[in-house]
């Protein structure tokens, strides 16, 4: 707003009060005169709501003892998956890192050798890190992955005591998936 708008004819433009200081209480609208019966009815209506809620089942949970169920598609912390034979799925292609809108994934690839076979094929991720402080849990990494190696699991309680601990390394990400997530992926996802 420019200065001209705020001041008209040299007077500051202030909102008009709804009621002037000496206008008193306005009269009741036509037909609504105060009565004791009406007051009791109003009280009863209020109590009915209160008591009704008091005896109906609670919708809140006793978190953290109780937890609400989460959708199958809930996007919590990441996991890196393995094949049944124990080899890592991740092929170190860096496509998750390329898709990540905040750039919180670091992948450094290396070549598999017969002595040191980490994943099937030629390439594996020597370093795989996610900075969970930056992650916005958008799930793009999961979408981008050509081998369904990175998935977002159901955990959301990720608080920790130092910033360093939020850099999830390969060891942490390779922890076994919760059984329900594993079962879901096994039933639906490509093998």
């Amino acid at each position: 707003m420019s200065d001209e708008d705020r001041e008209v004819d040299g007077k500051p433009d202030q909102p008009t009060p709804l009621r002037g200081p000496d206008e008193g209480v306005p009269p009741h609208p036509e037909g609504k005169r105060p009565s004791v019966a009406a007051d009791i009815t109003a009280l009863a209506t209020g109590l009915k709501t209160t008591l009704g809620e008091f005896f109906s089942p609670a919708v809140t949970l006793e978190y953290p003892e109780d937890k609400s169920p989460r959708s199958e598609r809930y996007r919590g912390r990441h996991y890196l998956r393995r094949y049944e034979n124990g080899l890592e799925r991740c092929i170190g292609c860096e496509l998750c890192a390329a898709a990540c809108p905040v750039g919180c994934i670091l992948v450094i690839a290396a070549e598999n050798t017969d002595e040191n076979r980490v994943s099937p094929g030629e390439r594996y991720a020597k370093t795989y890190e996610i900075n969970m402080l930056r992650c916005i849990f958008c799930g793009y990494c999961e979408d981008a992955c050509p081998v369904q190696a990175i998935v977002l699991g159901p955990e959301y309680e990720l608080s920790d005591t130092s910033r360093e601990k939020f850099i999830y390394t390969k060891e942490k990400l390779l922890e076994p998936l919760p059984p329900d997530v594993q079962a879901r992926l096994d039933s639906k996802g490509p093998k």
Partner: protein
């Protein structure tokens, strides 16, 4: 009535364009900014039209025509966007992808792959091919530098044509027929060429990839810095591709005047020499026979005190891998601050030098009618990319004579030759001049020479007077000349300052010199990586590698080219800063804060550099 000229006017997608006769439709369209997709066509090679990606419609021609192989004609009407063209482009790509593995996620070409890009732009969205793809072994080593993935090869023949047309080595060939065709070397023997890195750059897919760069990075993660190859004096332009402050690879950066877009493997794969893969020690001083780590100011003070004691009996050797700015300061440190004339940049031998050595610019080789390569392979080994220029010239009709003897060179060039070039290494400069003089009296045309010096800045070291007998700009030092390196052990030298700037052009001490080093009061070594010289040093001053600094380098043809900092090494002092600190500790009072400010003074001292550097052109010594 059309006038007969060597210009042709045609229409591409309804826009007219006039181009010289003989231009290919592809290039005429490019002039209008119309992109025709290609795989096999390459601007430096003859068209073969094998990939069929560039098919376009030409009016009055019944079938689609390959734009990469058909020269333009007057009044031609070309259409590149019709439904028929689109249908063919989709068809060609669908065929190419039938046996292509599409393993882009693990392919080193992914992200800079013409097949990927063109499939996105012109290809069908999905494949209709449900059968088994053809399978070959993955990642077959073709040599210690290259791996070949035959599944990815789309048989564009670019690599085979390179070995035939560009390098002339004919190392790669197409083997078998039809769907069984593969690329390979004779009898599967390892490839020997020193130009293999170029195959990986021209291959339009990830079939030929570098072993050194294998899985190092994705192209979009690379930081790219323009620079100049540290390998030899040729001065090929490179791009330093780095990731996380580590060099990933050197790529070519086309400069038609110098490298014509190519690099040799010697330079391309030299980067591990310049990689700071660990810390290379702090400045140190020898105390009680042991090198003790100290700070830069302490080491500099110690070096200055020792040099000052030696005064004019100090000698300085600087590597021809250092930048012009550093060499200029090095030269001033000795001639002005220490008043010592004992400077050198050469290893063994005393090679004379003068500006006539750059008489024949590299690109002019193509414009000669006879070129004598005195020493043959020796010259090529000293500057390998020179061979590609010679081969190109030869294909265009230049007579190239590879000879060992002056006599043979003289006999090879006929008297009616008009433009003659002589190439030789610095070691055979005297012979080259003899040959040049004899040729001048024999042939009717001009004769010019180009001397291949040692080191990427060997020319700069000579221009700036890192020589005992010549000052900056080949200034004659009347009676004040110093002694060359070969004579130092017997010249009463008391202190030696070795500036070993590049691991590729080292001091390279002989046994006798090592004995001499041991007997010296003072040996100061300024170097990038720890070297054998550290053992003899009283003061060690760690400096930077060439990707970590900026400045200019002068190639063997006198071209002043800029290198830029691609790798951050802020914790290590810049080499010019060390040199300046040593000089200032002796009261020199130099005020430089950047390498540009040093160059400004350099250009004042050697005016020929003032014009050459901004345009990255050649130094012209005419007005000397």
């Amino acid at each position: 009535m059309a006038v007969a000229t060597d210009q042709v006017t045609l229409q591409v997608d309804g826009v007219s364009v006039t181009v010289p006769k003989g231009t290919l439709i592809l290039d005429a369209a490019k002039k209008l900014g119309i992109d025709i997709p290609i795989f096999c066509s390459h601007p430096k090679m003859e068209p073969v039209a094998v990939c069929r990606m560039c098919l376009i419609e030409v009016e009055k021609m019944p079938k689609l025509q390959p734009a990469c192989a058909i020269p333009v004609a007057e009044g031609m009407v070309v259409r590149t966007l019709t439904d028929k063209v689109k249908q063919y482009q989709q068809g060609v790509l669908e065929f190419l992808l039938i046996n292509h593995p599409l393993d882009c996620p693990i392919c080193d070409k992914g992200g800079e792959c013409p097949l990927q890009d063109q499939t996105f732009q012109y290809g069908p969205g999905a494949s209709r091919y449900d059968f088994q793809k053809a399978h070959f072994d993955k990642a077959v080593p073709l040599s210690d530098k290259i791996v070949l993935d035959r599944e990815r090869c789309i048989l564009c023949w670019r690599c085979t044509r390179f070995t035939e047309e560009i390098s002339g080595e004919r190392e790669l060939a197409l083997i078998k027929r039809g769907v069984h065709t593969i690329i390979g070397t004779f009898n599967d023997e390892p490839a020997q060429s020193v130009y293999q890195g170029n195959w990986t750059e021209i291959c339009p897919v990830g079939a030929l990839t570098s072993r050194q760069y294998r899985f190092i990075s994705r192209p979009w993660d690379l930081d790219r810095t323009p620079s100049v190859c540290p390998g030899c004096a040729m001065g090929c332009n490179i791009q330093i591709d780095s990731r996380h402050n580590k060099i990933g690879r050197f790529q070519s950066r086309e400069n038609l005047e110098v490298d014509d877009g190519w690099l040799c493997d010697q330079g391309r794969y030299s980067f591990p020499y310049f990689q700071r893969d660990q810390e290379f020690g702090s400045p140190s001083i020898r105390r009680d026979g042991q090198l003790a780590a100290v700070s830069y100011p302490e080491a500099v003070a110690e070096a200055a005190a020792r040099l000052q004691r030696a005064g004019s009996s100090a000698a300085g050797w600087a590597s021809p891998g250092a930048t012009n700015e550093e060499l200029f300061l090095f030269q001033r440190l000795f001639r002005e601050t220490l008043k010592s004339p004992h400077l050198d940049h050469r290893q063994q031998g005393i090679h004379e030098t003068d500006p006539e050595d750059i008489g024949l610019p590299i690109a002019d080789i193509e414009r000669c009618d006879h070129v004598v390569v005195l020493g043959g392979q020796e010259v090529i080994d000293a500057a390998p990319v020179l061979h590609l220029r010679l081969h190109k010239s030869q294909r265009h009709g230049v007579a190239v004579h590879r000879v060992d003897e002056v006599k043979a060179g003289l006999a090879a060039v006929p008297a009616e030759a008009t433009v003659v070039g002589v190439l030789a290494t610095a070691a055979r400069r005297a012979d080259a001049i003899t040959l040049q003089n004899q040729l001048v009296s024999k042939v009717k045309g001009s004769v010019r020479r180009l001397i291949v010096v040692r080191g990427p800045n060997g020319r700069g070291a000579k221009d700036l007077g890192i020589l005992p007998h010549l000052g900056p700009g080949y200034a004659v030092l009347n009676g004040r000349a110093g002694r060359p390196r070969a004579e130092w052990p017997k010249a009463g030298i008391r202190a030696l300052y070795i500036y070993d700037a590049s691991p590729l052009q080292e001091f390279g001490a002989t046994e006798a010199e090592l004995d001499w080093l041991r007997s010296l009061d003072t040996v100061i070594v300024q170097r990038f990586k720890p070297s054998v010289l550290d053992e003899y040093a009283h003061v060690v001053l760690p400096g930077r590698a060439f990707p970590e600094k900026d400045g200019t380098m002068t190639s063997m043809e006198g071209r002043v080219q800029r290198i830029a900092t691609g790798i951050d090494a802020a914790h290590v002092w810049d080499d010019w800063r060390i040199l300046q600190a040593v000089a200032n500790a002796m009261g020199a009072g130099w005020p430089y804060r950047t390498s540009e400010s040093i160059f400004a003074d350099l250009a004042k001292a050697v005016p020929a550099y003032a014009a050459a550097a901004p345009a990255q052109g050649r130094v012209l010594w005419g007005e000397r």
